[in-house]
């Protein structure tokens, strides 16, 4: 579910901006309207059971990539979307990526499991 949110936002330029500017509202809209869409299926055949946990909602709603890492979100999805949203806020090349890594520095192996 975390991954599905990151995946569907990252591939849509408008959603990337919407999530950057207003994460809580975007998340609420997505959970209500998009969470149960089966991506490779026509719209009439949605799932009925998908919703975020409180921890997931909190992590996504506060742009907390450290919490997402802890919760087992796929790190490639999180990183790619974070670069799209926040690299522009840093002056130096790779500064955003290094800051991102530094905030994860307390994690040691094994990292949280990303198996779905």
């Amino acid at each position: 579910m975390l991954n599905k949110f990151l995946f569907t936002v990252d591939r849509d330029p408008q959603l990337v901006e919407r999530y950057r500017e207003d994460p809580v509202a975007t998340l609420a809209w997505w959970e209500a309207e998009r969470a149960n869409q089966i991506l490779n299926c026509h719209g009439g055949e949605a799932s009925t059971w998908l919703s975020f946990t409180d921890d997931e909602r909190r992590a996504l709603g506060s742009h907390d990539h450290v919490a997402l890492f802890e919760l087992g979100a796929h790190p490639f999805l999180t990183l790619t979307l974070w670069i799209a949203m926040f690299e522009r806020d840093f002056d130096q090349p790779l500064a955003m990526q290094l800051d991102y890594a530094a905030r994860l520095a307390h994690f040691t192996l094994p990292y949280p499991d990303i198996t779905t």
Binding site: F76, I83, A84, Q97, L104, F107, L109, Y111
Partner: protein, 286 residues
């Protein structure tokens, strides 16, 4: 019979394309050497005059998703579009289009399934930078038909390393037995140690230079057994959280067999080590 004229195993660095286009006064200090090494590597393919390319790569959550995730997939289509919006956005990669060789795709699917790999297929596959990057580096004119082969190195549960080697060995057998009179090259891309979205990302070198040095030795020496004895799904977490992409190198070792690489080169960059290997299975004069 078809002739396997070249096997290329290399890293795919999505920033090479953009870096290679920078004017010298704007380019980072490592750019000139990087471009020189890639141009030299390109010759190992060019001089073998291939007719068709079998391209091994891995979708990075672009078309293949968790609602329906294949472990191994072969494209069978007359054309393949390449690269996605977020790859343009992040890496500056342009979109491009490939011709396909459907006859070879159909042959590999049929025979591969019959030899123990329940291969998924796609008749409408948009390939990503794992396939397009080696085109930019070793065949920038993009003039040859391709057969894309995708592996899952990304979304666990993953196939084990032994399975990647076995698929490579099976592809080798099948290409050697393909009745078409064409010159085939197999090009596969993966990673050495790599961390993405974790605390060790974007350091001054790859996250585990010691692993990289051992990996280069395994590949250059065709040491499949030594590699398999030291690499497991669990062990690949240690060198970096995206190091399972090394299994695509292991697949290519399976294609190349127990043979030393005819060409081996590497380049230590920030974040990752680049590596370039080529084998000429039927000799350099084939």
């Amino acid at each position: 019979m078809a002739e396997l004229v070249a096997v290329l195993a290399t890293t795919h660095h999505p920033f090479f394309y953009k870096t290679s286009l920078l004017p010298p006064d704007n380019a980072p200090p490592f750019a000139a050497e990087w471009v020189r090494k890639v141009e030299r590597y390109r010759q190992t393919l060019t001089k073998m005059h291939p007719d068709v390319l079998v391209m091994i790569g891995s979708d990075h959550f672009h078309q293949l998703w968790l609602d329906n995730m294949p472990q191994f997939l072969i494209g069978k289509a007359p054309f393949y579009d390449g690269n996605y919006y977020n790859e343009q956005r992040e890496f500056g990669l342009p979109r491009l289009r490939f011709r396909g060789n459907e006859e070879l795709s159909a042959y590999l699917l049929r025979e591969g399934i019959d030899r123990g790999f329940d291969l998924a297929f796609s008749n409408e596959l948009r390939v990503d930078h794992s396939i397009t990057c080696p085109i930019f580096t070793v065949r920038p004119q993009n003039d040859l038909p391709i057969v894309p082969v995708y592996t899952n190195i990304f979304a666990p549960p993953l196939p084990r390393p032994e399975r990647f080697v076995k698929l490579g060995q099976t592809l080798r057998e099948l290409i050697d037995e393909w009745p078409a009179r064409l010159r085939v090259a197999v090009i596969g891309t993966g990673h050495l140690s790599l961390e993405l979205g974790g605390p060790r990302q974007f350091g001054p070198h790859g996250p585990d230079p010691e692993f990289d040095a051992r990996a280069v030795e395994w590949i250059a020496n065709g040491d499949i057994d030594g590699c398999l004895a030291n690499v497991t799904l669990d062990s690949l977490h240690a060198p970096g959280n995206a190091t399972h992409g090394f299994m695509d190198f292991m697949l290519m070792m399976g294609v190349a067999g127990y043979n030393k690489a005819d060409y081996a080169d590497n380049l230590d960059l920030f974040h990752t080590m680049e590596a370039y290997f080529t084998w000429y299975p039927n000799g350099e004069d084939a």
